[in-house]
Structure formats: C-alpha cells, structure tokens
C-alpha cells in the first residue's frame, strides 16, 4: 500500500512539471493519488487528529502520549491524544483544500474516469455535486491517514529497533566469547 502513493507522486510530478514548492503541492499529489481509491469508512474526527499527529515533530509536540502503568485501570501503551485546538486550526487549510479540489474538478479529463463523471453533471445537479465535493474533499486524505494510523509512531519504532540491536549485539558477543 505504501508503493501506490509514491508511484502517484512520481506520475503527477511528471504531469505537472511544476518547479514551485508551495505547501499545498504535496496535498495536491496525495489528492490525485487517492482519487480513484474507494471511500474508506474512517470517522473524520480521528482522521483529523491523525493529520495533526503526522504533522507534529517527534521531539516537540508529540501527540502520542506514552501513558503507562498508572494503575490497574490504565490501558497504557501508545495512545493518541485528543487536542481540541487542532480541529480549530485545521479549518483554514480545509478551505484551501476546497479551492484546490474545485480546480482539479474543473481540469477533469486529464485525471481520469471518476472526474469525467463529475464533470458531466448539469447545473440542476449542483447541490449533489457540491455535497459530493464535500465528501471528496475528505476522501482523498482518508487512505493516507488510515495508512498512517496503522503505522507505529516513530519514537516507538526507533525504540524497537534500538532494543533489537542491543539484544542482537549481546547475543553475538556471547557467541564470540564461546
């Protein structure tokens, strides 16, 4: 599943040939990469929380809280933290995505089948197209965020690798001493 977005990235960079590096370029590429993917039943609030997770730095604002062993009732483990402020901060970016999506919808034919179907809608079907636009505004990111959800947080991955390395080093040394 990781290969598809990267392939799409390569393709779309070829199509666009844009030398501009704006913060929305990556979002554009993800949009085109995942437009053809089926809608995933991921609740939007969790998707938004994860988007902030992905955006935050590892050392700084780590959203993954290692809430451990506070007692019998604690679930422990790496958990997502629910930060209400992040949802508010997300809104301006949402609007920009909306505008970008509209542009892409108008480009239409160069991007393939699903968009062509959307382009063929008449004026009388505008309300439904707007609603589908609202849905598709979130849909392109779902696959990306679902994939990110299934990954381990980076600090935990590093911990796992370092620990495995230590264990293997000790095992090797013990074999060398024999």
């Amino acid at each position: 599943m990781e290969e598809k977005p990267f392939k799409a990235l390569a393709k779309s960079s070829g199509h666009r040939g844009s030398g501009k590096s704006s913060p929305h370029d990556i979002r554009n590429l993800w949009t085109t990469a995942t437009l053809s993917q089926p809608k995933l039943n991921v609740p939007l609030p969790t998707v938004r929380e994860d988007s902030e997770l992905e955006g935050s730095s590892v050392g700084g604002k780590t959203r993954w809280s290692y809430n451990q062993k506070a007692g019998h009732d604690s679930d422990g483990g790496w958990e997502e933290s629910d930060d209400g402020e992040d949802k508010d901060n997300f809104k301006p970016e949402e609007l920009d995505e909306h505008a970008l999506m509209e542009l892409e919808m108008r480009r239409g034919s160069s991007l393939g089948g699903p968009l062509e179907e959307d382009d063929s809608k008449t004026d009388s079907e505008k309300p439904s197209s707007v609603s589908s636009l609202n849905i598709s505004k979130h849909t392109p990111h779902r696959a990306y965020w679902v994939e990110q959800q299934s990954r381990l947080p980076l600090p935990l991955t590093e911990l796992m690798e370092n620990e495995a390395l230590e264990i293997l080093t000790k095992a090797l040394r013990s074999r060398q001493h024999l």
Binding site: Y66, Q68, K69, H72, D75, G76, G77, W78, S150, L152, L156, L159, M160, E161, E163, A164, E166, I167, L168, K170, A171, S174, R175
Partner: protein, 189 residues
C-alpha cells in the same frame, strides 16, 4: 518477574477483558520478532531467546531456561512466533496484575503449558516450577488442591483446573468490587 521499564514490551498492553493483544499491538510485535529473527528462520534459537528475556525482564538464567523449555513444545530448540506471542501475553498479564483473568480466559493453553509431561494432569510441582510466571501463591495452591482435587489423586485434570480458574476469577472480581466500593465510599467522605 518485572518488565524493564521503558523497554518495547513495556509499551504494549493487553485487552483487559480477553487478555490478548490488539491487532495493532500484534503488528508491532511481529515487526519486533522479525528484527530479532536475525537468521531469517521465523524462529528464535535459545541464545537469542535468552538474551531477549534477559534484556527485557529481571528473570534469572535458570528461570529463562525453564520458560524456553516450556514454550519449546515441539522440542526443536527454537521458538516460533506463536510461542513468542504467548510468552508476551503472559509477561504482560503479570506486569499488569491480570494473572487470574489471563488463566481464566486461556485455561486450556495454560494447562497445556503446565502439563510438561503430557499426562493431562498437573501436580503441585508443575505450579511451583512456573510460580514466577503465573504468580500463584502457596496458600492459593493449598486451597487449590484441597478444594478442587475431586478425584483425590493430588493432581488436577483439566476440568478440575478449569473449576479452579472460575473460582479464582470470581474471587478476583469480588476483591476488585470491594476495592471499588472502598474508593467510592472514601470519595463520598
């Protein structure tokens, strides 16, 4: 037995009801096992297993050997992921004080692990041997044989063992309830 604080396993957790790892935790564990499986045989040999347990727990050498022999149920000298997963669940159950619940939920696999000889009966020596893993206290053991050894042969078959797990689970839930009530009454005061 205690898990080393800050180790990778320390960050995993069991589902409290079923005493198993969630899919996400299992995925993480698979990655971890894959890293340790340096020979790419999908198994850990005794050396790797020893160093793994020695690194993440405070178990002694002889205890680690006992655990290895317990899990190597095919006697091939290597531990596969199934056995590794079982071990991690046992370690996490003990770390989170869920031994009674774990034994209740997984009485059959635990019985089969304790039944080293394959005689379908377990004696006090079996429990003593693995006391550091399942944390069954001496008094509990005495009660166990006194109350549940229905056949009277000083050994428990699976049905007797299952009765014991149900009983100890009830006892555990009652104690949890009592603790909760105490907390509530002290909070009200």
């Amino acid at each position: 037995m205690k898990l080393k604080q800050g180790s990778f396993l320390w960050y995993l957790y069991l589902d409290k009801l079923y005493c198993l790892l969630s899919v996400r935790n299992v995925k993480a564990l698979v990655q971890y096992f894959h890293l340790l499986d340096v020979h790419r045989k999908k198994t850990l040999n005794d050396v790797l297993f020893y160093h793994f347990l020695h690194h993440v727990t405070d178990l002694k050498r002889n205890q680690i050997t006992i655990v290895f022999n317990m899990l190597d149920w095919n006697a091939v000298g290597e531990i596969g992921f199934d056995q590794f997963y079982m071990l991690v669940c046992i370690l996490l159950a003990q770390e989170n004080h869920l031994e009674e619940q774990f034994i209740f939920r997984h009485s059959r696999p635990v019985f089969e692990l304790l039944d080293l000889d394959g005689e379908l009966k377990i004696g006090p020596s079996n429990f003593h041997m693995y006391n550091f893993l399942f944390n069954i206290k001496k008094q509990q053991l005495r009660d166990l044989y006194h109350d549940f050894d229905i056949t009277g042969d000083c050994r428990l078959n699976y049905k007797e063992f299952k009765l014991f797990t149900i009983f100890s689970m009830d006892k555990y839930q009652e104690s949890q309830k009592a603790v909760k009530e105490e907390k509530e009454s002290s909070a009200q005061k």
